[in-house]
């Protein structure tokens, strides 16, 4: 039995007479088989995601509580007062996020010219200072905060002493044909007059480009979520991570088999008609390097 197993392993992974001196797992038919497996895997994941969005979904670690906690931690570290979660700014952030998904844009100002301040005004929040920060496609709340803190303009918003309130929204949806976890953060300083009808159209502070880049996060109530919007906390498995892990394992498997093949060729100087395993190794090495640049979130 063990002899049989050893023969099979040799046949599949080591160049030998039985496989025409090319590991069976590197034959063209085997590579076609791998491609089919990958295609079927991706299709299955996408179908699972549609059918069971609470099993395979979006980012699992980004919550309003975590973002708020991390923002206030940064403020306290810089001797600033923590921000209070404002229901009105939450509504403004939610409206902004929903507007981005419905009109399919990634910008502070919508294609129809709607500014962030319009959403804040519409929520009834009367302000003297306001700002907005946006983020998408991050895996964790820590990564979101780290990205903002590494950007001078976003950092300036988070650490602006004048701000008192914050609104947050974390929405899942499809933006530009891509499943996206969107984080919207709205900051505000309430005006002394709390009369909602008196709304400054152009607060003096808003002329500052940095302030316009502030990210506001708004919490979206469950009953306001659309069909393609899923609460992040409900997703125990994060699909992009599953896909990336699968691709990495596959590429590394290929690298190992190719490495064994190269070693064999180098040792026995075997002549055969095939592509160069060393070239494939370099190509797959670059592929793994490129994978490091995927799944990275962006801020605005």
């Amino acid at each position: 039995m063990f002899t049989n197993l050893a023969q099979k392993l040799r046949h599949y992974f080591i160049p030998h007479e039985s496989n025409n001196y090319r590991a069976r797992s590197l034959h063209n038919s085997a590579i076609v088989f791998y491609i089919l497996i990958i295609v079927i895997f991706h299709l299955s994941m996408n179908i699972m995601k549609q059918l069971k969005p609470n099993i395979l979904g979006y980012a699992t670690d980004i919550t309003i509580e975590k973002i708020l906690s991390l923002v206030n931690k940064k403020r306290v570290e810089n001797n600033l007062q923590p921000l209070s979660l404002s229901d009105q700014l939450d509504i403004a952030a939610t409206a902004k996020g929903n507007d981005m998904f419905s009109k399919n844009y990634w910008a502070h100002i919508s294609p129809t010219g709607t500014t962030p301040w319009s959403f804040i005004n519409a929520s009834g929040y009367s302000y003297v200072y306001a700002g907005e920060n946006l983020a998408r496609n991050f895996n964790t709340a820590d990564e979101v905060i780290e990205a903002w803190m590494n950007s001078p303009s976003h950092k300036a918003n988070i650490l602006k002493p004048e701000y008192k309130d914050i609104g947050l929204a974390i929405i899942n949806g499809n933006l530009n044909g891509e499943d996206t976890t969107l984080v919207v953060q709205e900051f505000g300083t309430p005006s002394k007059s709390t009369v909602a009808e008196i709304i400054p159209n152009t607060p003096k502070d808003l002329s500052n480009a940095n302030d316009r880049k502030q990210l506001v996060q708004v919490q979206i109530p469950e009953n306001q979520l659309g069909a393609n919007e899923v609460s992040i906390n409900k997703s125990p498995i994060y699909l992009p991570k599953v896909n990336k892990t699968f691709s990495l394992i596959f590429a590394e498997f290929m690298l190992v088999v190719l490495f064994i093949d190269s070693l064999y060729l180098w040792k026995f100087k075997t002549q055969r008609l095939s592509g160069h395993s060393l070239a494939h190794i370099i190509f797959l090495g670059a592929l793994i390097g490129a994978m490091g640049a995927t799944g990275i979130g962006v801020i605005l």
């Binding site: 590579i31 990958i38 891509e178 990336k244 590429a251 370099i282 797959l284 670059a286 390097g289 490091g292």
Partner: protein, 86 residues
Amino acid sequence: MKKDTHFHILHYLVLIVILLSAVVAFFALAGNHRMQFQVAIMTSFIYFLWGVVHHHLEGDLHPKIVVEYLLVALLAVFLLQGTIFR
């Protein structure tokens, strides 16, 4: 033999430069998933061409080898597609 070695070193250097440029482009385009995917397709195609040209100049080009490079290039595209798009 020496000429043969130089031939291989030159070709592999070209390949490494192409692939390194592609990886740098990938990082520069982080967040722009469509552009990343276009770079992935283009790089895979260039790798396929590199394989064909290399074996042609080496004098051992065979349809089986052409198919092998094509399949490896396709495999890379499908693997990257899964990590680029969510």
